[in-house]
């Protein structure tokens, strides 16, 4: 058993809002924190560790001030949308090391009501490589499209196969009363939607919403008398892919680094995984993540996602909340992967419940797939 076992997830909360023009980012953070602490049966006074991202380079201090927290452990790691999955790992490591007992992880964004073009607003991060990239018009979206095109070329992957992922997520969203888009769609609907960056259609892309979420990680001993049965951290790891001196294999993801390490630490195999929560910024992200995590061989993702395998009732239910493709995506969605996994492991999911859900795998992808991206895998158990 890894040292991660000294910590557990004691509380989670997903803000139901998808559109909050009347609220600030920090108010949504506070509401999410309140929800997760209530779920855990804890209070802000119990919090001695704090993690967030997406609030500006050193904004973690300002958000701590907003909540009047003076934590003895903080982590503002920002590796894109996967940040909050990493925060769970970092929180557990801090708790195992005695640096904190109860860590609050919080995220909120008003991307939608701010009319922020998350995926198609152009990319100028101020980093050194910008000068070799920004003049040519990279966006978040087209960095993923570059990878999709290459996958189609190497393996004959078809637009219909990517579309089936979007159709499945939408079917799941229909069972989630808070999901932003709930009306069923078909493969033909996806293929008929406009191409935004070839080969990706509009419905291959995640939506943009407002939203917030929070997670409470606490010491396993502390959790024994709390409100809800704790969710165990079985294993986890991180990875990174970049342009690699100009020789990057574009179909290799950080998931190929973090996934095997996380599964080995957890002592489980792919066959043990009852639920996958995979960052679905775009349909290609899901397909390629499945390959890189080893659920299928490289190049076989297209066939793997067909035939309802990822749907409820399939052999590998994935993104049962509807994912970023249909439920919510405020810009950095990783926190919601963990929140839905916890809800499933607690059997809280009503009509979208995965039967006998004992092991859940979360994988967050952050950044620009075809340029540089992070990956964080977390294996959870009840």
């Amino acid at each position: 058993m890894s040292a991660l076992a000294r910590a557990v997830i004691a509380g989670v909360y997903e803000h139901p809002t998808r559109w909050a023009p009347d609220k600030t980012q920090f108010q949504l953070c506070a509401e999410a924190a309140r929800g997760a602490l209530a779920d855990a049966g804890l209070t802000l006074a119990d919090v001695d560790g704090f993690c967030t991202a997406g609030v500006g380079p050193i904004g973690i201090m300002t958000l701590a001030e907003h909540l009047d927290l003076t934590p003895r452990f903080h982590d503002g790691t920002n590796i894109g949308g996967s940040s909050f999955v990493a925060h769970v790992l970092h929180a557990a490591a801090a708790i195992a090391a005695g640096l904190a007992e109860t860590v609050l992880i919080v995220y909120a964004s008003t991307a939608s009501s701010d009319r922020y073009a998350v995926g198609t607003g152009g990319l100028t991060l101020g980093d050194a490589p910008d000068q070799f990239e920004a003049p040519y018009g990279p966006t978040v979206l087209n960095s993923y499209a570059l990878v999709a095109q290459r996958h189609m070329h190497e393996y004959g992957t078809r637009a219909e196969q990517l579309a089936e992922i979007a159709v499945t997520m939408r079917r799941h969203a229909g069972l989630n009363p808070h999901a932003k888009y709930r009306d069923p769609i078909t493969v033909d609907d996806v293929l008929a939607s406009r191409v935004v960056s070839s080969p990706l259609h509009l419905l291959d892309c995640c939506l943009i919403s407002d939203g917030a979420g929070a997670i409470v990680v606490t010491a396993a001993e502390r959790a024994r008398d709390l409100a809800r049965p704790p969710v165990r951290l079985l294993g986890g790891s991180e990875g990174l892919c970049h342009t690699a001196m100009g020789e990057r294999d574009l179909l290799a993801m950080a998931a190929a680094q973090s996934g095997p390490r996380a599964l080995a630490m957890a002592g489980v195999t792919h066959a043990d995984v009852d639920l996958c929560m995979l960052y679905d910024s775009f349909t290609i992200t899901v397909l390629l993540t499945l390959e890189n995590l080893g659920f299928c061989a490289r190049g076989e993702g297209g066939a793997f996602v067909q035939g309802g395998r990822l749907g409820l009732g399939g052999t590998l239910p994935t993104n049962t909340d509807g994912g970023g493709l249909s439920s919510n995506h405020p810009g950095m969605r990783g926190i919601f992967l963990v929140i839905e996994a916890v809800r499933q492991l607690r059997a809280d999911c009503g009509p979208r419940q995965v039967a006998d859900c004992e092991v859940a795998l979360c994988h967050g992808t952050g950044g620009m797939l075809g340029l540089r991206h992070s990956g964080v895998t977390l294996v959870l158990g009840r």
Binding site: T120, A128, D130, Q131, Y136, N142, A148, Q149, M245
Partner: protein
């Protein structure tokens, strides 16, 4: 003359050799003079061996499209008025890949594996951008 609206490179000490070559309409990549490894983008120290002995290798300017996407939506200044455009990785004959645009070609005609050759776009008096067009002498 209208102002160039797209982002321009912020040239720095590590990259100026590359951009100076582009102004001369020469495409170069760095080679580590200690271990021989090629690298793009340029940087002062070789990540493979941490040597700072740098050679600039002039490239043939020929390569092939490794992957591409025809971008139909980008709200950023300079691009929103230039849609659609083709973003691509080109694999140079020398082996490294660089992010670029495919120009002088109908977007729908671009294919992976297509032979391309460098074309230099003088964006401003100070900055020249290497882009790629279909090779004239296709085999």
């Amino acid at each position: 003359m209208t102002k160039y609206a797209k982002p321009l490179p912020r040239i720095d000490e590590e990259s100026k050799g590359y951009w100076e070559a582009c102004r001369r309409h020469e495409l170069v990549v760095q080679r580590c003079a200690a271990c021989g490894r090629l690298r793009h983008y340029p940087r002062a120290l070789c990540p493979a061996c941490l040597s700072e002995r740098v050679e600039w290798q002039r490239c043939s300017g020929r390569g092939a499209v490794y992957t591409f996407t025809v971008t139909y939506q980008n709200q950023a200044a300079g691009f929103r008025d230039a849609l659609p455009y083709v973003l691509a990785y080109v694999e140079l004959e020398e082996g490294v890949r660089l992010l670029t645009n495919i120009v002088d070609c109908a977007p729908d005609a671009v294919r992976i594996g297509m032979p391309v050759e460098v074309v230099f776009e003088d964006a401003t008096p100070d900055v020249t951008l290497p882009k790629f067009k279909p090779a004239d002498d296709r085999p």
